[in-house]
């Protein structure tokens, strides 16, 4: 595996947009050429090497054999791995918004926190976050009717609001809690939340959402039965019936809606 290491030269106040940090782009380039790749710091167009130290193996490799290692604070670096199809990106710390936008293959690993819109409109590949993730994980762009369509997102910590909004396919797993409206307006896909969630599956047309903790369930869901899955006793619901949805919602415990 060819490894390329990128380290910010300084702390960023203004966010950096770096959609070209991607194995597909880096693979055929030598280190010096990678340094010339265009990135934006706010409204200033600049070269990657002006903002980051770039080092590592100099010999081009195939994208699938390329690993980009992000070392240092990338919390304000956006759109890393956008549209990537192969290879790996590993962030040692936090990674900014829109990581893995539209990716269709390869892997992104984030050891710290992921910003909002992680894996937006993702089609394939895998994203793993060891820390927390922001809002709109696996969602679609505003106004679109389809978000993530395929691939896998695993968040070991908690995730923010609107997790998997307009989800049309793929798998999202959160080990911690999810915020408000996970799986809202989804049309497929599988969401599993280890902890709690608020109003999951609102306007769900189809798909499966499982809450292993506590959930506030909408009054437009029909309770069906209690089922055993993987040793857990889960209440099974059907909905969202406001839109004649046919989604399945499972929750270990249910917050009293009338309280």
């Amino acid at each position: 595996m060819r490894k390329i290491v990128i380290v910010p030269r300084r702390e960023f106040r203004v966010p950096v947009e770096a959609e070209r940090i991607s194995p597909d782009v880096f693979a055929p380039l030598a280190i010096e050429e990678i340094g010339k790749i265009e990135v934006w710091e706010g409204n200033r167009k600049t070269a990657l090497s002006d903002l980051f130290e770039v080092s590592g193996d100099d010999v081009p490799a195939k994208p699938e054999e390329t690993l980009i290692s992000l070392s240092g604070d990338f919390s304000k670096v956006k759109r890393v791995g956008e549209n990537m199809t192969r290879g790996r990106i590993a962030a040692e710390g936090d990674l900014g918004m829109h990581a893995g936008n539209g990716m269709s293959g390869g892997e992104i690993e984030i050891e710290g926190r992921a910003g909002d819109w992680l894996g937006r409109e993702m089609r394939g590949g895998k994203i793993t976050v060891l820390g927390e993730a922001g809002d709109y994980v696996g969602a679609g762009y505003r106004g679109e009717s389809c978000g993530m369509r395929g691939g896998e997102i695993l968040i070991e910590g908690s995730a923010g609001d609107y997790l998997g909004e307009h989800l049309c396919g793929g798998t999202i797993t959160v080990l911690g809690n999810a915020g408000d409206f996970p799986g809202i307006a989804n049309r497929g896909g599988v969401i599993t939340i280890g902890g709690n969630a608020h109003l999951p599956g609102a306007e769900m047309a189809s798909g499966t959402i499982t809450i292993k903790g506590r959930a506030k369930v909408l009054p437009s869901y029909q309770y069906l039965e209690t089922v055993e899955i993987d040793g857990l006793s889960l209440k099974k619901f059907f909905g969202d019936l406001v839109d004649n949805g046919k989604g399945e919602l499972y929750a270990a415990s249910v917050e009293d809606g009338g309280a």
């Binding site: 819109w117 609102a202 019936l241």
Partner: protein, 429 residues
């Protein structure tokens, strides 16, 4: 006496105000409400341009203020141009051009009022009408999280619950009013039916109503968010029985937990209700021309607010490119505030983000934003001292009048001056 003057206060944009003028001074205001009258009569003004020197604001010339403003914007990598609710569309056009020119982000006060409504509309569309349609036809008005008695005092009489029109000759007597709120407001006290809901439960209540409206009420639990199902059934029945219903919603919906999803669901409720009878929905917009900014920004850039020009093409994503996010996340490195007062209206931690960066203020009046500003440029009051276009809460545009002369330049002229200087600085580079 100036007749049929437009009121530069709230989104009602009343256009029947009489203003008495003697020797170019306003001496009387008739027909306006307390809010409008107060604004037209005038308040203490910022007398002259000021710039901050050694922590103090000191008076200066317009020329120096323009130069300083241009330099701040030109030097910034992510300048935020914010406000625009209390000025005319002609200013908006110039402001958007300036934002393009400096590669900045432009955002309006919608971001702290009905921004979520706009995002809701992006999900569902908006089944609306002009206010006159409600006046002439509506026999049911639902105020949801809205309190016109305090925020839009003439709304009920001119346009909604108490107005009269072609098919509504009996006014309030011929209408039913439902109020949904978390407290019994003055508006709620006058309702035929008041649903007291718990804060942050709008979404659930709307879903329950949608179920009942669709005839699937048997699935809905006996109590939803503190409201008895029988009350919801009664409300749903009133809605379906109406000949023409209108849901008019306020910040109660957009400022509460659920935010744009509350609006999104309300828009769906209205679409559902149209399967049974006629229903429209409208956001009770706050400032007189905050709606106008959304219109201008949409036709100029394709998007109604929170537009980022950093990379030369418009990029829109509230939550990322909205003013509060840019400040709270410490992304913006300079700010220009036009016809708004974010220091009063933003959360404290967001204001702290403003305190770290240079701030330019363009406004007729001193306010808390002045306390944090580095450049202060006083302007004429639109609709009183300057004319131009404004859009009412229903999207109807009207031309604001100039009633008296002003010693101050218009917002539009100020922005043009800054734009000219920014361009000159650009040429030097």
């Amino acid at each position: 006496m100036a007749e049929d003057v437009l009121c530069p206060f709230c989104g009602c944009l009343c256009d029947d105000i009489k203003v008495e003028v003697e020797n170019d001074q306003i001496v009387g205001v008739k027909r306006a409400c307390k809010l409008g009258s107060s604004k037209i009569r005038g308040h203490e003004r910022t007398k002259a341009p000021m710039v901050r020197k050694d922590e103090e604001l000191v008076e200066t010339s317009y020329e120096e203020a323009y130069d300083r403003a241009a330099k701040i914007l030109k030097d910034a990598k992510r300048p935020l141009l914010y406000g625009w609710c209390s000025t005319v569309c002609e200013t908006h056009k110039k402001g958007i051009l300036l934002a393009e020119e400096v590669g900045g982000v432009i955002d309006s006060t919608a971001t702290v009022c009905h921004g979520p409504s706009i995002i809701g509309i992006e999900e569902k569309g908006l089944a609306g009408s002009t206010l006159g349609q409600i006046k002439n036809r509506a026999d049911l008005i639902v105020f949801w999280g809205a309190n016109p008695a305090e925020a839009h005092p003439r709304h009920t009489l001119r346009y909604s619950s108490n107005s009269t029109g072609m098919f509504t000759p009996d006014g309030r007597k011929g209408r039913k009013v439902i109020v949904v709120d978390v407290r019994e407001t003055r508006t709620a006290k006058n309702a035929d039916k008041f649903l007291l809901i718990k804060p942050g439960t709008d979404y659930e209540v709307i879903s329950a109503l949608r179920m009942i409206v669709a005839g699937k009420g048997e699935i809905v639990p006996e109590k939803v968010a503190g409201v008895a199902k029988s009350d919801l059934e009664e409300a749903a029945e009133m809605m379906k029985a109406a000949r023409f219903g209108a849901i008019l919603f306020g910040l109660g919906m957009t400022h509460s937990r659920g935010r744009y999803k509350n609006v999104d669901n309300a828009l769906s409720l209205v679409a559902d209700l149209n399967g049974f009878t006629k229903f429209v929905v409208m956001a009770m917009r706050g400032h007189y021309n905050v709606a106008g900014f959304g219109q201008v920004c949409a036709w100029e850039t394709g998007f109604p607010m929170s537009v980022d020009f950093s990379r030369g093409a418009p990029y829109f994503n509230p939550g990322e490119t909205a003013a509060c996010d840019l400040l709270a996340k410490r992304e913006a490195d300079a700010m220009m505030v036009v016809a708004a007062d974010p220091v009063s209206n933003f959360p404290r931690a967001t204001v702290e983000g403003m305190a770290e960066i240079p701030v330019i203020q363009i406004d007729p009046f001193p306010n808390p934003t002045t306390l944090l500003a580095d450049v202060v440029i006083p302007s004429a009051v639109c609709g009183v001292e300057a004319e131009g276009t404004a859009y009412r809460m229903d999207g109807l545009s009207l031309r604001m009048k100039k009633v008296v002369d002003s010693p101050y330049p218009t917002d539009e002229a100020i922005i043009q001056n800054i734009l000219d200087r920014v361009r000159r600085l650009g040429d030097d580079n």
